[in-house]
């Protein structure tokens, strides 16, 4: 291995500007520390920068340079962080996408970001890309072969002229309406968000974080950076499907932190739960993407007895916005707290004036984490970012409606479409969803306010009961009636489903449900 110290010393002593600099710094401070542990093997920080610099040399000879896109469809594997490091060195852009991307969405993404290289570990994905477009494809079957090939390169790429305003990643959002949009984040966006999150989660060098969230979802992707910025270790799992494997890993590796999405909580406690089993090594768990599942709060405290539980809110356009102080969670289960460090939020009305506590309005976000814009989509960028071109701070209009309580903690009310007025009662469909979700037989729920013609909205509740339970619609209706503030909040239609349609990131696909309502009602 070549002596990397002279390369990284400077970076280690300074505040990092770029993604590769945070990994360089960790390699300088903790050279033999494990950075990545996956099924396919494990790598220390120095090994990652050694491989990454050689890979960068290889990519440069293939003419990958500043601003070029490298599409990475490698699942949750060691390839993603190594390619991220290498593209960062070259000023190129990583585009993580799911290996399951196909059909018109795949064509759209390939056309939209026009990558100069596709990297994949999935032979079906390789074949699908090869059919549609002529760009070069690197296909790797085994990590060992990849590492051996890269390791045999005896040359390093030096850092080219990368600045922190250069883009580093395009994250395609699931786009539950129409085709996906790519959120374009520069180094400075990514580093600011990473530092803020690492501060409030209090991540330290000794942490061992277990990631089962896809790297194609910003929540999973940022776990790589959260570890690198503090010199912690990332345990990578491809998914959360095999519970017992995950639990053994938490025990054997003494995992200290786990990011969750709410469907994973459901999967832990489905089929009768996990009994008295507990994981004392875990010191924090986090939830974002959809509301914190209140009904599992007590069980989570038993399963992770030493863990602080962070309920958080964010959107890919600025990565993360807020988190609730874990001390407050027991009395504020549905709150997502306050803005994270280096972020300012305001709740505004239609004329962009700030509203007071308790009043619903749109959440506006200022901070260095706010994206540069949507890739190839200046009109949409202009619509969601105000003041991009004058002395005021660029402000992201999230399109999400919130209110605050007297302590200033935020409560999510829904998207603009989710708040409706029925007979003078303002109803948040998200509030109603959380009421219904608390019913013990309900596994999943989606509520939609459907406005037909010019009449009063009709509330539809789509419900998935646990498969071993026999839920009666009239029983559920009575339960809802007892638990809502106004009879206007009782859904007009309760529809029992075996499963709800999902977007590729596993979120409920509301646009599909709206289409189904249209068919039912017309």
């Amino acid at each position: 291995m070549i002596d990397i110290n002279p390369i990284v010393t400077k970076a280690a002593m300074s505040i990092p500007f770029t993604v590769h600099e945070i990994i360089d710094r960790a390699a300088f401070l903790f050279p033999s520390k494990l950075f990545l542990v996956a099924d396919q093997g494990e790598l220390t920080y120095s090994q990652v920068i050694d491989l990454g610099r050689k890979l960068a040399y290889k990519l440069k000879t293939a003419e990958v340079g500043i601003g070029d896109r490298v599409l990475v469809a490698c699942g949750n594997s060691l390839y993603v962080p190594i390619y991220l490091y290498a593209t960062s060195l070259l000023g190129a852009i990583t585009v993580p996408v799911s290996t399951q991307l196909r059909g018109s969405r795949l064509d759209f993404v390939l056309q939209d970001c026009s990558p100069c290289l596709v990297v994949t570990t999935d032979k079906y994905f390789r074949d699908r890309c090869a059919k549609s477009f002529g760009m070069p494809i690197s296909y790797f079957n085994r990590v060992d072969d990849f590492i051996a090939e890269i390791d045999s390169i005896q040359k390093y790429e030096e850092v080219c002229n990368v600045i922190d305003l250069d883009l580093i990643v395009l994250m395609y959002t699931s786009g539950s309406t129409g085709m996906p949009k790519a959120v374009a984040l520069c180094h400075s966006n990514v580093l600011s968000a990473t530092e803020s999150i690492a501060r409030y989660l209090d991540i330290i060098e000794q942490d061992r974080i277990l990631n089962c969230i896809p790297f194609t979802f910003d929540y999973g992707f940022f776990q790589i950076l959260l570890c690198a910025i503090r010199g912690a270790t990332l345990y990578i799992r491809p998914n959360f499907a095999y519970k017992e494997d995950i639990f053994s890993l938490i025990d054997n590796a003494n995992i200290t932190g786990i990011p969750f999405v709410s469907t994973q909580f459901t999967s832990i406690y489905a089929r009768g739960g996990i009994g008295k089993r507990s994981f004392p090594s875990v010191r924090f768990i986090t939830n974002t993407g959809s509301p914190f599942p209140e009904k599992y709060f007590e069980e989570l405290k038993c399963t992770f007895p030493n863990a602080k539980i962070f309920s958080m809110y964010g959107l890919t356009e600025c990565k993360r916005v807020s988190y609730l102080d874990p001390e407050k969670l027991p009395r504020k289960l549905s709150s997502v707290g306050k803005a994270m460090p280096n972020v300012r939020v305001r709740i505004i009305d239609e004329s962009h004036n700030e509203v007071g506590a308790g009043v619903a309005g749109q959440l506006a976000v200022e901070g260095r984490n706010v994206m540069k814009g949507y890739w190839n989509n200046p009109n949409e960028t202009k619509r969601v970012i105000r003041f991009a071109n004058n002395l005021e701070n660029p402000t992201l209009l999230t399109g999400d409606y919130f209110k605050t309580d007297v302590e200033g903690d935020l409560y999510f009310l829904g998207r603009r479409d989710d708040i409706v007025k029925i007979c003078d009662t303002r109803i948040s469909t998200k509030d109603l969803e959380s009421v219904i979700a608390c019913h013990e037989m309900v596994q999943e729920v989606a509520v939609i306010a459907y406005i037909k013609d010019m009449y009063t909205p009709l509330l539809f509740a789509f419900i998935v009961p646990f498969s071993d339970k026999h839920l009666q619609a009239n029983e559920l209706r009575a339960y809802i009636a007892q638990n809502v503030e106004s009879p206007n909040m009782i859904p007009a239609r309760l529809v029992l489903y075996n499963e709800l349609p999902k977007t590729e990131h596993g979120k409920i696909d509301y646009s599909k449900l709206r289409k189904e309502i249209k068919i039912m009602e017309d």
Binding site: G75, T99, Q100, R102, D122, Y124, P238, N239, F240, A241, Y242, K243, E244, D245, T263, Q264, T266, S267, A270, R271, G272, I274, E444, S467, D468, N498, E499, G506
Partner: protein
């Protein structure tokens, strides 16, 4: 119907992308099951094969590929006899 064919029929309901189901097919990466649908799938296996699957058995070793599941089911059914 043998175990493999019966399993293929059940899996075809979960096969969102219409990928060919062969013995080396991975149920998560290839068929697209996730942490929730696998729970539903396991419940179906319990009903169709008259077995009980404990949480401690939910591992890649038992349910990673079609081949692994066939092997697991055959062992389970032998145990039950």
């Amino acid at each position: 119907m043998n175990v493999f064919s019966k399993l293929t029929v059940i899996l075809s309901e979960f096969n969102a992308f219409g990928v060919p189901i062969e013995s080396h097919t991975r149920i998560i990466d290839d068929l697209g099951l996730d942490s929730l649908t696998i729970v539903e799938f396991l419940t179906r296996l319990e009903i169709e094969f008259h077995i009980k699957i404990s949480d401690a058995e939910i591992k890649v070793k038992n349910f990673g590929t079609v081949e692994a599941i066939v092997h697991y089911l055959e062992c389970k059914m032998k145990e039950a006899q």
